[in-house]
Symmetry: C2
Subunit: 352 residues, 2 copies
Amino acid sequence: MGATMKDIAKRTGLGLATISSYFNGGNVREKNRIKIEEAIEELHFEVNEVARGLKTNRTKTIGIIIPELNNIFFAEIITEAEDILRSRGYATMICDCRSDNEREKEAADFLYHRRVDGVIVMPAGKSGDALMKFIRAGKPVVMIDRKMQDLPCDCILVENEGAAEDAVRRLIDAGHRRIGMIAGPEDVYTARERQRGYKKALEENGLSCDDSLIARGNYTIAGGAAAMRKLRETNPDMTAVFISNYEMTVGAMMEINDLGIKIPEDISVIGFDNVDFAKASVPRLSIVTQPTDKIGREAANILIEKLETRENSVQAGEKKPEDRTTVTVTLKTGFVEGKSVRNLRQSGCTEA
Amino acid sequence: MGATMKDIAKRTGLGLATISSYFNGGNVREKNRIKIEEAIEELHFEVNEVARGLKTNRTKTIGIIIPELNNIFFAEIITEAEDILRSRGYATMICDCRSDNEREKEAADFLYHRRVDGVIVMPAGKSGDALMKFIRAGKPVVMIDRKMQDLPCDCILVENEGAAEDAVRRLIDAGHRRIGMIAGPEDVYTARERQRGYKKALEENGLSCDDSLIARGNYTIAGGAAAMRKLRETNPDMTAVFISNYEMTVGAMMEINDLGIKIPEDISVIGFDNVDFAKASVPRLSIVTQPTDKIGREAANILIEKLETRENSVQAGEKKPEDRTTVTVTLKTGFVEGKSVRNLRQSGCTEA
DNA sequence: ATGAAAGCGCTAACAA
DNA sequence: TTGTTAGCGCTTTCAT
């Protein structure tokens, strides 16, 4: 099919090593460089990354494990990360796990088998064991949106607790006292963090934290809708609700829609994550936003950094990969103000 | 690092070819099979796909070129395709082009260079030349959502024209006469098809097709919003609007939101693509839906089919790859009824 | 700076 | 059925 370095060698009368050296930033005499470049042009030569990978044991490929590709939050992160990785010559293999623990393990195994150079993981479940294989093999792992105690890897987090606290405080400041929360699954890191922020805001303002005001919605649209319904039933006096991820925000809006409740007259709402959705809602939703672009960028950059400096540290006879120092980056969240929060302190005015 | 077939050979006392044969479905004596399996177990052996790829010239990797990963329509398709491909042992390399022609070409080159076995393309622009390289190399290309005259490859389409026609007819049946359309870019296949459907519906019902009723919104949220504004300005008498993709639907909703117009009292709306968004809207939106799961499934299956039967046809000394027969699958769209269409024939009743 | 040669882990042709 | 052997296209010593 394609031409090989051998062909280039023959064509130029040079040795194989010289050609290889040319492609790897080695020194080649000006004269020969030109010859080589001519040959490349004429033969349409492209380095065979597969052969190179076999020899160097580096595939220039990064694995990405993600709970749902079909989820804007994750999709935005990946878009950014993939962009950066590709611009540095790394291909990206994406595995969608459909939020399933079993699939997540399979994905990790699959990528390990494919010998990716490193992975970016947004874990749904407990794929710790499978991921540990990468660490042991000295392959960098960057975890997003979650921290796992027993997995020594870099992490990119956002200030979940602070973001939730801030959102709830806004509701309190607007005069709300009976504030519901639609929380995520108890076994998900971000869900716990956000719930903690909710509680903290209440406590700091001397409000009791009534458990019946927290409904769990497992981060899905259906879950958000069900949680909303339950909250309304058990707490007719609830005047505001904080919803802690995007899918559940959509679900809650559907339910509010079905119930015929008016925002913000009947209930004040602060949602999560998707600015476009928030702006298209009637009325515009106030939401917490996450810096998806930065997350993706950080993840890619940290990974590349590790990848490109690894050789040095490894050949320096460094400590076991398990003990390598890791970084945890925590990014700030944002807040986009809509018209979905009613200010109870003024006479029926609506303002966030 | 990992064990190799050589290690297995030594451990079992068998020859290399036997081990290889074992992994490739060859016949191995029961006795030896057990020995091999024991060795695999003990040595944690995994076939090195890279080495295999070098030898067989097949990477078991599929490239996917997509305008925007951050777009539910495409994300859903990919989720499905990736799932099927991975279950058959194929890895998926995704390239997001951010709807940019140049990036699209780069992506195709990148994937070609990475020697993927085939590609699934959702083209934004005219990457025809770059894709032609795959065809010439005998590598299957499956195109989604678009047809290119000069590129002999399989296509998965949906009935764009029919879907638009049906949507507009619903508006006509509800008594609307001044029906606007927010159309996509003129150089995009689906946009042209949908516009044709709109016109057809009008013509078949004896309605004149006023060009000022068509606003172009380049398939983005901002474009949809701008187009909506323009339509309202130039056509104060417009009673209904058909929006021809998801992003523009969101944008139009934002604008309607800003303008303080009421659906369906002031204007009837039929949007596109995202059921969840439609249900979360107030009132629920009527929309055209596309069978994203089927599209992804078809694409993956067709690709695999070509991949697994290629050897036969090729070694049968078949015609040039350029002339290979291609398939075009056209899938039906759906319609989800909301409450966003007002029936002008009854007294102010709202029904789609 | 360049060339010769070995070998990365695998498959496949051929022999046995 | 199994073993021997020759590469796939590249990188990388080691000489020169």
